[in-house]
């Protein structure tokens, strides 16, 4: 799948396009198919998000729904947070979170 990511203008936080808006959780990311460039042009025009780009991702079933996993390690670390500070990541209480990156 193709997913769309960028940074929130005010906070700089990494965000993911959900199909209707932006979420901090990569698992909310929607498949944008071929529409990435169009969505970027529109959303950056609205000024909420910047530095947006399209990446490859993979959606897999998990016990509580599904997970979306960016293809490249750099985007997986963006999605999670610094692997050396689990307390500051998206899943501070999940001891397995770092393994998901690697």
């Amino acid at each position: 799948m193709k997913i769309l990511t960028g940074n929130d203008l005010k906070t700089g936080a990494v965000t993911w396009w959900t199909g209707v808006g932006w979420s901090l959780d990569v698992n909310d990311a929607a498949d944008v198919g071929e529409d990435g460039a169009k969505i970027i042009a529109r959303e950056e025009g609205v000024q909420n998000v910047f530095a947006a780009y399209v990446i490859d991702g993979e959606k897999t079933a998990a016990k509580d729904g599904w997970t979306v996993r960016p293809a490249h390690i750099k985007d997986r670390i963006r999605a999670l947070g610094p692997t050396v500070r689990p307390d500051l990541t998206l899943k501070p209480s999940d001891p397995e979170a770092v393994n998901w990156v690697i």
């Binding site: 940074n7 203008l9 005010k10 700089g12 390690i73 670390i77 610094p82 500051l88």
Partner: protein, 544 residues
């Protein structure tokens, strides 16, 4: 310490107000990111992997307690409770919000700090010896000259759009503690046979993808020509540096392509031309600056006695302190490298504690080192035990300076958007494996430096052991280098061979230390043994 005059303060305050307005316009949509990006970068605000990152300049690595306190407060108030001290003797914050940035810069301006020229193709923050003004071996205190150069290079209109970034280091002793020859320009303050102080110039050093050791281009520049000569060096570079290719745009490529002699000839020609033009500040300005760097009120006759009955304290004194020029005083290093920790990171509380301790025990002064540690430059020996106790209680009393535990590591793929691989986890694993006091005592001085990509922010070329993160088809991979050094005998490390995964690189480091231990002769450090026996025995042990 230097104190801003009204010009300095006005420049910085005006800049804060200007940026406040730019941020307002960006948030309201008047400015696009494309328009805003160069403006934020000029104020040290980058976009990194997870958020905005703010890089704050620490001129020649010197801080007073009030400044250090504000650095801690910023970490608490606007970031996530910590800051990262860098190899450029600066501090970076990783989780800054755009809307807070003007307030942060205003807080900094109140203590005479800013983030100007911490990005972009200009003259960056000038680095220096972290022991300046305290070391027993210095010819003169290098900081007044660094300060003069700071004033010259701040907002210098001709040098705000150089072909590429430009880094200057100023030192004043034979022992180079600032990697001077790996800078675009390195300046060493020296005394000539007539006993006069002057500046020795080196040009074209650097790390990055094409590491070079800067050759000497002028043995002695008199003090009343220091700025003019610097101007000439920059002018030749500005005119002929390779603007066509970002990877060839640093001055090291120009000096290398022209040859040192031709570059020097052009500089001398430009220098002769500039000499008559009155651009040199009067020597009185240097004298004015020097007054801010007079020695603190050392206690005459302070005792040189140290009670070393506490073995942990004794170890720390042996490892982490350095001779002071003043009897009864000592230079103390705080290692920001706890076993398994993140090199260079300090919590807001730790930063404020160091500020307070500097006030109590080091004449209000601290230094940031290029090895990502903190220095208390002027500690009375009688206070040393109390100081160490207080540091140790806060996890800052680690005795591992310049050993395998004292690793330099860039932020790498955990924070940096240019990275190929993570640096910090590798540093953590190595420090865990070699962190024990016994291991450190056995191995002794060994400087290990890790960069997460070829840009070399972690100085991997200059490590006795260097590690470079590369991207091998989307998987992190690490190359091993041996034999680098950033001191007076600067050398560049050589790659051993094919790279390793994260665990493999730690094993390879261990094998390298084993080769050292089984070959070392009396008093040899790892680097000395490597230089004597060469790469082959290491290769054999590592690749079998």
């Amino acid at each position: 310490m230097y104190k801003y005059d009204s010009y300095d303060q006005q420049m910085v305050d005006t800049r804060v107000a200007e940026f406040r307005d730019q941020v307002r316009r960006r948030l309201s949509g008047e400015l696009t990111e494309e328009q805003f990006r160069p403006l934020r970068l000029q104020n040290g605000l980058y976009l990194q992997l997870h958020a905005y990152m703010l890089r704050v300049a620490v001129p020649y690595g010197t801080l007073n307690s009030a400044q250090m306190t504000v650095l801690g407060d910023i970490a608490d108030k606007y970031d996530r409770g910590y800051g990262h001290f860098t190899t450029r003797q600066n501090i970076q914050y990783n989780w800054i919000k755009l809307e807070d940035t003007p307030d942060i810069l205003a807080d900094l301006a109140k203590v005479e700090m800013h983030a100007i020229q911490t990005s972009g193709n200009c003259i960056r923050n000038i680095s220096s010896d972290q022991y300046a003004g305290a070391a027993a071996d210095e010819v003169v205190d290098p900081r007044p000259y660094a300060e003069l150069l700071r004033q010259w290079s701040s907002f210098h209109p001709e040098f705000l759009t150089l072909p590429r970034k430009f880094k200057i280091a100023v030192i004043a002793s034979e022992t180079d503690r600032a990697a001077m020859r790996l800078h675009d320009i390195g300046i060493k303050m020296v005394r000539n046979p007539a006993g006069e102080i002057g500046a020795q110039f080196y040009a074209g050093g650097g790390m990055g993808r094409t590491p070079m050791i800067g050759p000497m281009i002028r043995e002695f520049v008199p003090l009343d020509q220091l700025i003019t000569y610097s101007e000439a060096c920059l002018r030749v570079y500005n005119r002929y540096g390779r603007r066509d290719n970002k990877y060839k745009a640093r001055i090291k490529i120009l000096v290398h392509e022209l040859g040192k002699d031709e570059y020097t000839r052009q500089v001398e020609e430009e220098f002769a031309h500039l000499l008559g033009q009155g651009i040199e500040p009067p020597l009185a300005e240097l004298e004015r600056i020097k007054q801010y760097f007079v020695d603190p009120a050392f206690e005459a006759g302070a005792s040189d006695e140290l009670d070393l009955s506490d073995p942990d304290f004794r170890l720390w004194v042996e490892r982490n302190t350095h001779a002071h020029k003043q009897a009864g005083y000592v230079i103390a290093n705080v290692s920001l490298k706890p076993v398994g920790g993140i090199p260079g990171d300090a919590s807001a509380d730790q930063i404020r504690l160091m500020a307070q301790l500097a006030k109590d025990y080091s004449f209000d002064e601290l230094r940031v080192t290029h090895a990502q540690n903190i220095v208390f430059p002027h500690v009375k020996k009688a206070d040393l035990y109390t100081l160490w106790k207080a540091l140790d209680e806060a996890g800052l009393g680690i005795a591992n300076l310049d050993t395998l535990g004292d690793i330099i590591a860039c932020p790498g793929l955990d924070y940096c958007s240019l990275a190929n691989a993570r640096s910090i986890p590798v540093a953590q694993k190595i420090s865990e494996r070699f962190g024990s006091a016994e291991k450190q005592a056995e191995i002794g001085e060994l400087k290990l430096k890790i960069s997460g990509c070829i840009n070399a922010c972690g100085h991997h070329h200059a490590g006795h052991i260097g590690i470079l993160g590369v991207d091998k088809k989307g998987v992190e991979n690490y190359q091993l280098l041996l034999g680098g050094c950033e001191g007076a005998d600067t050398s560049l490390g050589k790659i051993t061979g094919p790279g390793f995964d994260e665990n493999g690189i730690v094993d390879a480091v261990e094998k390298a230390t084993e080769v050292y231990l089984s070959n070392k002769q009396d008093g040899e450090r790892f680097l000395d043994t490597y230089r004597r026996i060469g790469m082959d025995p290491f290769k054999e042990a590592i690749y079998g």
